[in-house]
């Protein structure tokens, strides 16, 4: 038989899911990111056309989402490496709280600057 959400409903499992989903989304975003930067190769004006198009609320929200996912993947990854490589101690949930806190800060700062 298989387990269901009741078995998975604890902080570290949700942290895993955030790490995995953010990793997938960031990987899928990268080719698109490189495509936009590559516009500078032939015609920087095309890049400005794109920035003009992107200057709308829905895109801003998507950008904020990507920044939060990037920050979450960074802090979640540092948390994982601390658990895997440093001496074991009862700090799993503290690390998780720090990672979540830093991610929220990154999101707030981004929302402030745009």
């Amino acid at each position: 038989m298989k387990t269901d959400w009741r078995a998975r409903n604890h902080p570290a499992w949700w942290a895993f899911l955030v790490h995995r989903i953010s990793g997938i989304v960031l990987t899928l975003f990268l080719p698109f990111h490189f495509w936009v930067l590559g516009m500078a190769l032939n015609d920087a004006a095309r890049m400005d056309d794109f920035f003009a198009w992107a200057d709308r609320p829905l895109v801003k929200v998507a950008e904020a989402g990507l920044v939060i996912l990037l920050a979450a993947h960074l802090t979640g990854g540092l948390r994982l490496m601390a658990l895997e490589f440093l001496a074991w101690r009862g700090w799993q949930k503290d690390l998780l709280a720090v990672a979540a806190g830093l991610t929220v800060i990154a999101g707030v700062v981004f929302a402030y600057v745009v």
Partner: protein, 112 residues
């Protein structure tokens, strides 16, 4: 894939993660600084064009991503889609190479 290669891939993902830890941190700060007052091609190119420090940084960044992301995708595909085997490994090497070339093209575009 033999056990030693599997373990080395695991290690490669962690080592690339350590490099990315630094790169992503710098990248997030750059985003926050660059996004103030909106983006423009001129502003980006002013920062990056002819700047060897940024060029080397972004080449390292792309290289670390090329190592890190496909290893993660391989695990996810194996676990959630149940596809595994040599052809999957070959496909991911091809995707990694494509992502690397595409990324280096972008780095060159803002440097040259």
């Amino acid at each position: 894939m033999n056990t030693r290669t599997e373990v080395r891939l695991w290690a490669a993902q962690r080592i690339s993660a350590m490099v990315l830890g630094v790169c992503v941190f710098v990248h997030l700060i750059t985003i926050m600084v660059a996004m103030r007052g909106g983006l423009s091609a001129a502003e980006i190119l002013e920062r990056t064009q002819g700047n060897w420090a940024w060029f080397v940084f972004y080449v390292v960044f792309v290289a670390a991503v090329v190592v890190h992301a496909p290893i993660g995708l391989r695990t996810i595909i194996e676990e959630w889609l149940g596809w595994r085997g040599t052809w999957l490994d070959i496909l991911l090497v091809v995707l990694a190479a494509a992502l690397g070339l595409w990324g280096l093209r972008a780095v060159w575009a803002v440097f040259a």
